[in-house]
């Protein structure tokens, strides 16, 4: 298991490095349309072939991976911070605050977020550059995606609140702030870590879903969501199996994220 985890981590690092150096590794700009060769098969010039508009698929995959792999962890971080604040505080304080916070979490989980995301996306200013639209898309994912994590963190904080060492710290006269920062938070770290890692693939898939609906990252910027739309055309996949590369990469990356999460994190 350790070997698998290390391999997965190494693969993730490799992918991250490749995406960071996309500018050097990509054989062509991601937006350049080679209009004379749309739907080209893999060749020495186009390693994975081209898409319907003649854009180099390998370059788009590299840049798309950069978008998804850098911003999904950022969105996950945002969601985990919000979840830690809401869930951690509710679980630690307890009482009416916990009830109100958990009611808010339940309400948040019951809302149809996909439609809400569509609505928020629709009311944004139109003249946003593609990069800004990208940041907003992931920020929205982060802002809306904290509820499930908050519930888990709340449960963890609640069990810590009633633990012997917290009771002992309180009995020794430690202030609430000190107990929270020095006793509760360090013990919540595995849960926070697990929630952070679990949320990354969730946000990658959420962006992919938005992309399939045509509402993710704006053209011409690639993302995994946008690239996965290429799978709609079965005949194009038959002609060029290289089009499956984004799906394969998504599968491998999501699996790697699951593997690198320590068992301790789940156990917590």
């Amino acid at each position: 298991m350790k070997f698998l985890r290390r391999t997965a981590a190494a693969f993730l690092v490799l992918i991250f490095i490749a995406t960071l150096f996309a500018g050097i590794l990509a054989p062509a700009p991601y937006a350049k349309q080679f209009r004379e060769s749309p739907n080209a098969l893999p060749s020495r010039i186009h390693l994975l072939g081209t898409d319907e508009l003649g854009r180099d698929l390998f370059s788009r995959l590299l840049y798309g991976s950069r978008v998804s792999l850098l911003l999904a962890p950022a969105a996950s971080m945002l969601a985990t911070i919000i979840a830690a604040l809401v869930g951690g505080l509710a679980g630690y304080v307890g009482g009416w605050l916990e009830r109100v916070a958990l009611a808010g979490v339940d309400l948040s989980m019951s809302l149809p977020w996909l439609f809400l995301l569509l609505t928020v996306r629709a009311i944004l200013p139109l003249n946003l550059p593609a990069a800004a639209s990208l940041l907003i898309t992931f920020a929205l994912l982060g802002l809306f995606g904290w509820a499930a994590s908050a519930r888990v963190i709340c449960a963890g904080a609640r069990s810590l609140r009633n633990s012997d060492f917290v009771l002992q710290a309180k009995a020794c006269g430690c202030s609430s702030q000190r107990v929270l920062l020095q006793q509760v938070l360090p013990n919540l770290r595995p849960v926070l870590y697990a929630q952070f890692l679990i949320s990354i693939p969730i946000f990658i898939l959420a962006e992919a879903n938005l992309g399939i609906l045509g509402l993710g990252v704006s053209e011409p910027l690639p993302s995994w969501g946008g690239l996965l739309r290429g799978l709609e055309n079965w005949s194009a996949i038959q002609a060029n199996p290289g089009r499956l590369a984004p799906l394969l990469l998504l599968f491998v990356v999501v699996s790697c994220f699951q593997l690198v999460i320590p068992e301790k994190g789940f156990a917590s």
Binding site: R35, L126, L128, A130, G214, L215, P220, E232
Partner: protein, 543 residues
């Protein structure tokens, strides 16, 4: 002996070369892409119901989908008088509805009275409504009927192509029909079964009763992948419209079944928001109202590439509001603006724009940047937008692409007017220019670039108003054509809509079907449904 054999072989070859005799019987199958909303021909407002109306309804006059001219059906003759206010029909005698009820002129009068009843809210009836006032339909005897409208109706006869006559006396009401088929069975979400109308009046050249096929099974199926798969398996025999990618796929596997019929009536276009109260900066409004700016953008778009790359060559560059597929109304003088980025740049420079590095700026120094909105999920429009983005980049214009869900898009283009450029398509069903009145009249809410004007904002819009009203108020076809040609020319010059492409009509027809003659007008593959039949071998299989 050898000579006899040769003679026999020659005779055999001759027989094989002769056209096959129509084989009666068999069940034709194809797909409805949505549930039909109604079987009442007067309330038809969706494509599935329209298909059923076409296959079951008997009409007085039919637009021949191939020649695009009018042909008599239930009417033997007709006469339009009083400048398009009145129309008189003489109907065929001895015909019966599918339940055996006799057809008379009284049924025509009954149909028109019912159709024009304001309480019915019939979409078909609305196309006859040129002004307020009652419509009078009087049957003077069993064969003659006169219909009088409160005001002239442009292209009056053509509108009767949509009017399926219903019986005034039949207990089966609208289910008693005069068309080649009648609804026999309907299973919601699954299929509609049509069976041959035993009382149908038409006969073929050999005097045999039409239609040739016994029944039509219309499978309700939204998934186009499944539709194509079922066609390839031989489970359905027709596909009325295919996307370019599906067409290419089919053409590789079944080249004889895939047919590209050339440009359709439909167009894809972009337009700039010219609404005075729109929440966009004034300097941008100034660009969008400039004819030179719009012309330059049009010249900077490579339409040939759009057709070749996005539609795999199954589209034609569009020039104006009328497709070349519309044989009667297309103005041949109007041709697509040639792709010429240098000419576009010169035109912009004459209008005060200048290049600063790679970015175009207006006379006040604002960089030329705007957004295009289109509906999310439409692969072809998103690809066109991406190509236009790269084309405009060559003249220093920065285009941002925004895809929105359809309700949000409609909200922006018709209520808040919070958009700059919009990319959408226009579906043309009717050949007559009067059907486009709501688009071209400046007072109309469908005058997309600047709807609902109290008085025309520009002199050319005032001229278009005048010409459209003039063509609608005369029945002289040549005069109407002259007026509408002029409208097409003004639109070409002013570019309120920058027309991009006319998509080709792509259909699939099973080689098992005989006598097929697909056309660009709807319904493309089965417009001559009575004449279609199965080849003998296929017939056995379909039974």
């Amino acid at each position: 002996m050898r000579g006899h054999r040769l003679a026999l072989l020659a005779a055999g070859a001759l027989l094989a070369a002769l056209p096959a005799k129509p084989q009666s019987g068999g069940e034709l199958r194809f797909v409805l892409r949505s549930e039909p909303k109604t079987f009442d021909p007067m309330l038809v407002d969706d494509e599935a119901s329209e298909t059923i109306r076409y296959l079951t309804g008997g009409v007085l006059i039919r637009v021949n989908r191939k020649s695009q001219t009018l042909e008599s059906e239930l009417a033997v003759s007709w006469k339009v008088s009083e400048g398009g206010k009145k129309i008189s029909f003489r109907v065929r005698e001895g015909l019966s509805f599918s339940d055996g009820t006799l057809f008379t002129a009284e049924d025509v009068a009954f149909t028109m009275q019912k159709l024009m009843d304001p309480d019915l809210h019939s979409p078909t009836g609305d196309s006859f409504r040129s002004s307020q006032g009652p419509v009078r339909a009087i049957a003077s005897d069993a064969r003659d009927v006169t219909i009088e409208f409160p005001a002239p109706v442009a292209g009056l006869e053509r509108l009767f192509d949509q009017v399926a006559i219903v019986s005034a006396r039949s207990p089966k009401k609208e289910l008693a029909v005069l068309g080649p088929f009648a609804v026999a069975e309907y299973k919601s979400g699954s299929y509609v079964l049509l069976k041959r109308n035993p009382y149908y009046w038409k006969k073929d050249a050999q005097g045999r009763s039409l239609p040739h096929v016994d029944s039509i099974r219309l499978e309700i199926q939204q998934n186009r992948d499944l539709e194509l798969l079922r066609f390839k398996r031989g489970e359905i025999q027709l596909i009325n419209s295919l996307d370019a990618s599906y067409f290419e796929n089919l053409a590789k596997e079944m080249p004889a079944a895939a047919r590209d019929l050339g440009p359709s009536l439909d167009s894809e276009q972009v337009w700039f928001n010219q609404v005075a109260s729109a929440p966009i900066p004034d300097y941008k409004k100034k660009w969008f109202r400039s004819t030179s700016f719009r012309r330059a953008i049009s010249e900077a778009i490579n339409r040939d590439d759009l057709c070749r790359v996005v539609f795999s060559g199954h589209a034609r560059p569009a020039a104006g509001p009328v497709s070349p597929a519309n044989l009667l109304w297309f103005n041949k003088w109007v041709q697509p603006h040639p792709y010429d980025p240098q000419a576009a740049l010169r035109r912009l420079q004459q209008d005060g724009f200048h290049l600063d590095g790679h970015a175009l700026h207006d006379a006040e120094g604002h960089p030329v940047e705007f957004s295009v909105v289109t509906n999310a999920g439409n692969k072809y429009r998103e690809q066109m937008a991406a190509m236009i983005q790269q084309d405009l980049e060559q003249i220093g214009v920065r285009l941002n692409i925004v895809t929105l869900d359809f309700p949000s898009l409609i909200e922006r283009i018709s209520r808040t007017f919070d958009y700059e450029l919009c990319l959408l398509g226009l579906v043309n069903v009717d050949l007559d220019p009067s059907a486009q009145m709501s688009v071209w009249l400046s007072s109309s809410s469908n005058h997309q670039w600047n709807p609902g004007q109290k008085s025309p904002a520009t002199s050319w819009e005032a001229e278009v108003d005048r010409l459209m009203q003039a063509q609608a108020s005369t029945n002289d076809q040549k005069q109407r054509k002259r007026y509408f040609d002029q409208v097409q020319k003004i639109v070409w010059e002013q570019q309120p809509f920058i027309y991009l492409v006319n998509k080709n009509v792509l259909v699939a027809i099973s080689p098992a079907l005989a006598n097929t003659s697909p056309v660009v007008l709807r319904p493309q593959t089965f417009w001559n449904i009575e004449s279609l039949y199965f080849f003998k071998e296929a017939h056995g299989a379909s039974r």
